[in-house]
């Protein structure tokens, strides 16, 4: 339960990691700010994008059926998975039926949720990540530390060493163009020989049965075009209702994520290869993954979490994320969105400390392009984590309740709602508070590790206000 808290110091005490994140986050924040300088335009665009995603969440069951019908009519096979295990089994089954031995992958957070690569490897199928960042961390045997820029925790020297060790014929070089060209060469062959491509989905348009993928590198296009089989994995919430919802969403996503007006490629797939066409996969499958999302959807307040378009702006602007990095969160989704999503998907009993790892500074709320009330949801999850009533909405609710803590808050509430008790309590604190040994109050001694002790004033403002005649007359 205290995992996040226990892991944080390791990251905090790693100066290289701290520098890598600080530098990267500063750059991303500055680039995003340049994109939204016109306040009115930002407000209008964001309102449109938030409404588009709020409509999806509100109409989710109908839209999923519509999407399924349109995709099917377009010749794309649709599969449903309640759990990541089911999703893995579906993907494996499709690959086996096609006799596929090697898979080339585009970036997909849902496939990270599924730990798909491990699953495929365990069944004799090699899955190669082709997004440069994902390729780098696959070589390093690590997990992504950011949902948009998976290897943001690594600097050039670390990547140069990794490439020199792993790419045949490449010596140590920190030249980014050379490193990039080496990855291109290494991966070109992999694309050409892959039996299948696996990708994620940014938006699946219910109206037309279209899978929309955004990217800069072209590896996503290659993964979804060159191999004879394409499997897309997506969460059940990643829909757009209509095609004309896309312009606002596409204007928000890359600008919020990396400060780009648009990504190099917006790849809209509506069919497998048709008769007479020269390329494209002959079969396209979509796997719709629930894995806890329908539970998030059940609660009218918490379901706003499902609006997320995975831009990562919340983490880029988060003073906590930028100091501890993505790996401290351990789960797939780090940063503010992770702090509200992970406890809902995994349960408060295993990620219950994450909603507390926030100052509620609202920096994420300010930049979220689809207006997810992240801070309110964090607080709601804190409440769920101590809610003893059995009817609570979230898995693991009540698991963090401690009777001494509850009792303390009850006493606190009593003192602050009964004026006589408040008067007595504050009188005592102002006279005796400074005499309490810090060792007797663990929060105080924790506070004093890096700060001086707060000093109670000899008289409270209540007393001074009365003396000066400010009271009710």
């Amino acid at each position: 339960m205290g995992d996040f808290t226990a892991r944080a110091p390791k990251a905090l005490n790693d100066p290289t990691l701290r520098r890598n994140f600080r530098r990267a986050m500063d750059g991303l924040m500055a680039k995003r700010a340049l994109q939204f300088q016109d306040r009115d335009a930002w407000d209008a665009l964001r309102a449109r994008g938030a409404a588009a995603k709020a409509r999806v969440v509100a109409r989710l069951p109908e839209l999923l059926e519509q999407l399924e019908a349109r995709l099917t009519a377009n010749g794309i096979r649709v599969h449903w998975a309640e759990t990541t295990a089911q999703a893995n089994a579906i993907v494996l089954d499709i690959l086996r039926q096609a006799g596929a031995r090697t898979v080339i992958k585009g970036k997909s957070m849902v496939s990270e949720e599924m730990e798909l690569n491990h699953h495929l490897e365990a069944h004799g199928i090699a899955a190669i990540e082709s997004d440069l960042g994902e390729y780098i961390i696959q070589l390093a045997g690590e997990a992504p530390s950011h949902i948009v820029m998976p290897c943001i925790h690594k600097n050039k020297a670390e990547i140069a060493a990794l490439f020199a060790e792993n790419i045949e014929g490449l010596g140590y070089t920190e030249d980014v163009d050379e490193l990039t060209a080496a990855a291109r060469r290494a991966l070109r062959g992999r694309f050409a020989e892959a039996d299948a491509g696996i990708s994620g989905v940014n938006f699946a348009v219910a109206e037309t049965g279209t899978l929309v993928l955004v990217e800069n590198e072209g590896n996503g296009r290659l993964s979804t075009t060159l191999p004879p089989l394409h499997i897309a994995v997506m969460g059940i919430e990643k829909l757009a209702e209509r095609l004309d919802d896309l312009p606002a969403l596409l204007a928000l996503l890359p600008r919020s994520a990396t400060g780009q007006p648009i990504t190099t490629y917006v790849n809209m797939i509506s069919h497998p290869r048709r008769d007479g066409e020269r390329d494209g996969p002959k079969a396209v499958h979509v796997v719709l993954l629930d894995s806890g999302r329908s539970r998030v959807h059940a609660d009218p307040e918490l379901r706003d979490t499902l609006r997320c378009i995975r831009c990562g702006a919340c983490m880029n602007h988060c003073p906590v994320y930028s100091r501890v990095g993505g790996h401290t969160y351990k789960f797939v989704y780090p940063g503010p969105i992770g702090k509200i999503l992970t406890p809902q998907l995994e349960g408060l009993d295993c990620a219950g400390d994450q909603p507390h790892a926030s100052t509620l500074c609202n920096a994420c709320v300010e930049v979220c392009p689809v207006r997810i009330p992240i801070a309110d949801i964090l607080v709601r999850l804190r409440a769920e984590s101590i809610d003893p009533s059995g009817s609570a909405a979230v898995k693991g609710a009540g698991s963090m309740r401690k009777s001494l803590e509850s009792l303390t808050w009850k006493g606190w509430a009593l003192m602050h709602s009964v004026p006589l008790l408040h008067r007595l309590g504050t009188w005592a604190l102002s006279r005796l508070g400074n005499l309490i040994p810090a060792a007797a109050l663990p929060p105080l001694s924790t506070w004093m590790r890096v700060r001086s002790r707060p000093v109670f004033a000899p008289k409270t403002l209540h007393e001074l206000a009365r003396e000066k005649g400010y009271g009710n007359e």
Partner: protein
């Protein structure tokens, strides 16, 4: 797995319905007479090149730009008529006239430039709209290190919204529709931009100003 489908939909349906908000008005920007200037500025900002040509001059301009880059093998649809226009003075022009399975090696290793038409352009973001078809397949704009696109000025729209509405995309989309804004790039290594990571290193747009 239809059981999974039934269970997921049942859970979603069991939830308390929330309000379905209206879509508030949002008007993306328009550029009037500055449309081409906007398109150019945006595309150049992402390392793309924009060259103004006419229907009379474009083949020659294309020939010289390929020559400048040392291109000896280009790929283009035969109906563009490049062989005839160049009359042996240009690079070899290969047609993408067989399934990718039969073309893979050449596409991955040999072809130095892919030449395609754009169905439209978008000024706001400096974007090309491609609807790949049998004559100009999907990989033509992706595998060769240089992509040259022909864009008729008359098809340049202010923004994506306007274009979608004007061409009624919702009525029928191609197998694959592409929005392309610049050459392939990555910033995965220390946020340093590098071009041509998987797709073209270079994107040149020939704008036919008389069409």
């Amino acid at each position: 797995m239809s059981e999974a489908r039934a269970n997921i939909l049942a859970r979603l349906r069991a939830a308390r319905r929330g309000a379905v908000p209206d879509r508030p008005d949002w008007t993306p920007p328009a550029y009037g007479p500055d449309r081409l200037a906007r398109f150019r500025a945006m595309l150049e900002a992402v390392h793309g090149e924009v060259i103004e040509v006419t229907s009379a001059t474009w083949t020659e301009r294309l020939r010289t730009l390929l020559a400048e880059r040392g291109v000896t093998t280009a790929m283009a649809a035969p109906d563009l008529g490049l062989d005839a226009a160049w009359a042996g003075r240009g690079p070899e022009v290969v047609a993408y006239d067989r399934p990718v399975e039969a073309m893979k090696d050449r596409l991955v290793h040999d072809i130095q430039a892919g030449i395609t038409r754009a169905r439209a352009g978008i000024a706001e973001t400096g974007t090309l709209v491609l609807w790949p078809d049998a004559a100009e397949p999907r990989l033509l704009s992706l595998l060769p290190p240089l992509h040259v696109a022909l864009l008729r000025l008359g098809t340049l729209a202010d923004n994506l919204s306007a274009l979608m509405a004007e061409q009624n995309w919702a009525a029928g989309l191609p197998t694959n529709l592409l929005l392309i804004s610049g050459p392939s790039k990555t910033a995965d290594i220390e946020q340093t931009l590098a071009y041509g990571v998987h797709g073209p290193k270079e994107l040149v747009v020939l704008v036919l100003t008389d069409l």
